[in-house]
C-alpha cells in the first residue's frame, strides 16, 4: 500500500474540490439563469472533459503549461519552478478536467430554484449576497454537494490526464491511480489489489453519501 500516493490523491482531490466550489457556483448560476449568445458553445466547452480522451486533454495541458508557453514562463518567473510535472500543474489540470463534474450538478441545482422565489427575495429587500447565502445555497444544496463529492471521487480516480501532465513523481505527482498501475506493471498484485479496494470503498462511500443527503433533503422539503 503506497500511503504517500493515497495522501497525495486525497490532497489533490481536496484542493480541487475547494477551488471548484466557488467557481462551480459562479458558473453554475450564470449558466442556469442567463441567456447569452454562444451559450451552447460555452456549455459544450465546459462539458468537453466528459467525452474527450484523457490523453488528448492531458496532451494539450502539457503543451499549455510547458515552459515554452506564456503561462509556463510566467509561472517559472514567479516561482522559479515549472508547472508541468509539479503538484501545482497537476492541480490546474485536475480543476479543468473536473469542470463538468462541478458545474453541471450545481447548474441543475440552481435551475431548480423557481424564478418567483428569486424575485421574492429581491422584493423582500435581500441583497445579492444575502439571497445567495440565505436562499440560493440552501435550495441548491443537494446539487452543490453532489458536485463536490463527484469532483472529489473523480479526482481520486483520474489516470490519463495525471500521467500526461504530472508523470509519476513520488510525493509530487504520483497519485494512487498511477501507483496502482505502477504496482500492476511490477506484478505486485497484492499492493495493487489493496489500493484498488481502498479507492473502490472511498468512491462508493462518497457517492452513497450524496444519494443519502439528497434523499434526506427531498423528504424534509415534503414533510
Amino acid at each position: 500500500m503506497d500511503w504517500s500516493a493515497l495522501s497525495l490523491s486525497l490532497k489533490l482531490a481536496a484542493w480541487t474540490m475547494v477551488i471548484l466550489f466557488p467557481i462551480g457556483i459562479w458558473l453554475g448560476r450564470v449558466l442556469a439563469w442567463q441567456d447569452f449568445r454562444g451559450k451552447p458553445l460555452v456549455e459544450a466547452m465546459f462539458a468537453l472533459p466528459l467525452v474527450l480522451p484523457p490523453t488528448v486533454l492531458g496532451y494539450y495541458l502539457l503543451v499549455a503549461l510547458g515552459g515554452a508557453t506564456p503561462l509556463g514562463r510566467f509561472y517559472h518567473d514567479l516561482t522559479g519552478q515549472q508547472l508541468v510535472f509539479s503538484f501545482e500543474g497537476l492541480l490546474i489540470a485536475s480543476i479543468l478536467f473536473n469542470l463538468p463534474f462541478a458545474i453541471q450538478p450545481m447548474q441543475r441545482g440552481f435551475e431548480a430554484i423557481p424564478i418567483e422565489v428569486r424575485d421574492a427575495a429581491a422584493c423582500c429587500g435581500l441583497s445579492g449576497w444575502r439571497t445567495l447565502w440565505r436562499i440560493e445555497l440552501p435550495l441548491a444544496w443537494p446539487g452543490i454537494l453532489t458536485a463536490l463529492v463527484l469532483t472529489f471521487a473523480h479526482t481520486l480516480g483520474e489516470f490519463g490526464v495525471v500521467l500526461m501532465v504530472g508523470g509519476s513523481i513520488p510525493g509530487e505527482t504520483k497519485t494512487i491511480a498511477i501507483a496502482i498501475y505502477d504496482r500492476v506493471q511490477a506484478f505486485d498484485t497484492a499492493a495493487a489489489g489493496a489500493m484498488s479496494a481502498t479507492l473502490l470503498i472511498i468512491s462508493l462511500m462518497a457517492i452513497s453519501f450524496t444519494f443519502l443527503i439528497s434523499s434526506r433533503f427531498k423528504s424534509r422539503r415534503h414533510d
Partner: protein, 379 residues
C-alpha cells in the same frame, strides 16, 4: 404626479405591448382587470422593478422609481414594495416565521421575531409559525405571503392573482380578511385579477386592460354597469349587448328614447348620442324584471317587452333564461330569475314571458364595427 401614492405610465410596442397610465392613491385599492395576456402581471412586475419596460415613468410618494429619460431605474430592493404572487413564492426551506423575518432585514435584529409574530397573528396564523410552507394549506400559504409582503412596511402593496390558487370557500374567507386588513393599510394597493366579481368586491377603483391598453378606469360599479365601449361590456361579462337607433332625447323627463327590434325603449338621458345615430346598448341581467303572469301590473311598467323562452339553465339558486325577442333568428336576451319565481310562473322552453327593462340600466355605447346586426357577444 400625485404626492402621496403611486403614479405609473408605461409604454412599449414589443415584446409585450403596453400603453398604460394609472394612479393609485395612498390607502386606495386599485384592481387591474383583464383576460389572460392583457399585460396585468407585466405591469405589476414593472412596478416592482422586476421587468424593464422600454419607456415609462413610475413614481411613488414623490420619489422617481423609474424614469427612462433621466436614466433612473431603482432596484426592487430600493423600491420597498410588498409583492404577493399567484403561487406565493414562499422560501420553501424556511418556516412561516422565518419567511416573514427574512423580509425584515432593514429592521433591528432584536425586534424582528416579535414583529414577525405580530404579523403572523394579524393574518390569523398564530400557532403555525414553525411550519414549513409545504406543511401549510394554500390559504395559509397566502396569508404567510401577505404577512411577508407587509413585513417591510412597504410603500406599495402589489397582489398578483393572490386568490387564484385557493379553493372557493377559502377564497371567500380571504376576501373578508383582506377587506379587514385593508382598513389599517395606508399605502396604495394594486390587485391584479381576471375576475370582475373579485375586483368589484374588493377594489375602490378598477382599471380594465386589454392587450396592454387601458380601456376604462372607474369605480367598479360604474365600469360594470356603464362600460365605455362594447369591448369593455364584453370583458365585464355583460351578455345583453345589442344595436339600436336613437330616436330622441326628452331632457325634461331625463330620458333618451331608442328603437330596438321595433320596441320603443326609454333609457336614462344620454344626450352625447345624437338623435338618428346608430348605437350599441347594454343592459345588465339584474336590470330586467319579470312580470308575474297572474298579477296585474302596478303603475306604469317601464319598457315592457315580451318574448319566447329559448332555453332555461340552472345556475345555483337562479334560472338563466335565454329569450327570443322579435324572432328566433336574432340573438337572444339573457335574464336571471330566482328558481322559485321560474317554478311559480311555470317558465319552461317556449313559454311566453313579459318583462321590464329598467330605464336606469339601459346604457348606450358607441357602435362597434364588430357588433354585427344585433349580435350578442358571448365570451
Amino acid at each position: 404626479m400625485i404626492e402621496r401614492g403611486l403614479s405609473v405610465s408605461l409604454s412599449q410596442v414589443a415584446p409585450i405591448p403596453l400603453d398604460v397610465k394609472l394612479t393609485c392613491a395612498a390607502g386606495e385599492l386599485l384592481a387591474l382587470v383583464g383576460p389572460s395576456g392583457s399585460g396585468k402581471s407585466t405591469i405589476l412586475r414593472a412596478i416592482a422593478g422586476l421587468y424593464r419596460v422600454k419607456h415609462g415613468r413610475i413614481s411613488c410618494n414623490g420619489v422617481a422609481w423609474l424614469d427612462m429619460g433621466d436614466k433612473i431605474n431603482l432596484s426592487p430592493q430600493a423600491r420597498r414594495i410588498g409583492f404577493v404572487v399567484q403561487n406565493f413564492a414562499l422560501f420553501p426551506h424556511l418556516t412561516a416565521l422565518e419567511n416573514v423575518m427574512e423580509a425584515m432585514t432593514a429592521q433591528p435584529v432584536m425586534e424582528r421575531a416579535r414583529r414577525a409574530r405580530d404579523l403572523i397573528a394579524r393574518v390569523h396564523l398564530s400557532g403555525l409559525e414553525g411550519r414549513l410552507p409545504a406543511a401549510l394549506s394554500g390559504g395559509q400559504q397566502q396569508r404567510v405571503a401577505v404577512a411577508r409582503a407587509l413585513a417591510r412596511e412597504p410603500n406599495v402593496l402589489l397582489l398578483d392573482e393572490p386568490f387564484s390558487a385557493v379553493d372557493r370557500a377559502t377564497r371567500e374567507r380571504l376576501y373578508q380578511e383582506l377587506a379587514e386588513l385593508r382598513r389599517d393599510l395606508a399605502m396604495p394597493v394594486i390587485l391584479v385579477t381576471h375576475d370582475f366579481d373579485e375586483a368589484s368586491l374588493l377594489a375602490d377603483r378598477m382599471c380594465v386592460l386589454f392587450q396592454g391598453k387601458t380601456l376604462q378606469v372607474g369605480a367598479p360599479d360604474d365600469v360594470i354597469t356603464r362600460p365605455s365601449s362594447v369591448q369593455v361590456a364584453r370583458l365585464v361579462g355583460l351578455k345583453n349587448v345589442f344595436r339600436a337607433g336613437v330616436i330622441k332625447h326628452i331632457p325634461e323627463r331625463n330620458v333618451t328614447v331608442i328603437e330596438w327590434r321595433k320596441h320603443i325603449l326609454e333609457a336614462h338621458l344620454q344626450s352625447k348620442f345624437s338623435a338618428g345615430a346608430q348605437v350599441a346598448w347594454a343592459v345588465p341581467q339584474g336590470q330586467l324584471v319579470m312580470h308575474e303572469s297572474r298579477e296585474m301590473h302596478r303603475g306604469e311598467p317601464e319598457n315592457l317587452v315580451s318574448g319566447v323562452v329559448a332555453s332555461v339553465a340552472r345556475l345555483g339558486d337562479n334560472a338563466i333564461l335565454s329569450i327570443n325577442v322579435g324572432g328566433a333568428k336574432r340573438p337572444p336576451l339573457f335574464m336571471s330569475v330566482p328558481l322559485h319565481v321560474a317554478r311559480h310562473n311555470k317558465i319552461e322552453m317556449t313559454s311566453r314571458v313579459t318583462f321590464s327593462m329598467l330605464r336606469e340600466g339601459i346604457h348606450l355605447m358607441p357602435p362597434d364595427k364588430n357588433l354585427t346586426a344585433d349580435l350578442v357577444m358571448t365570451l
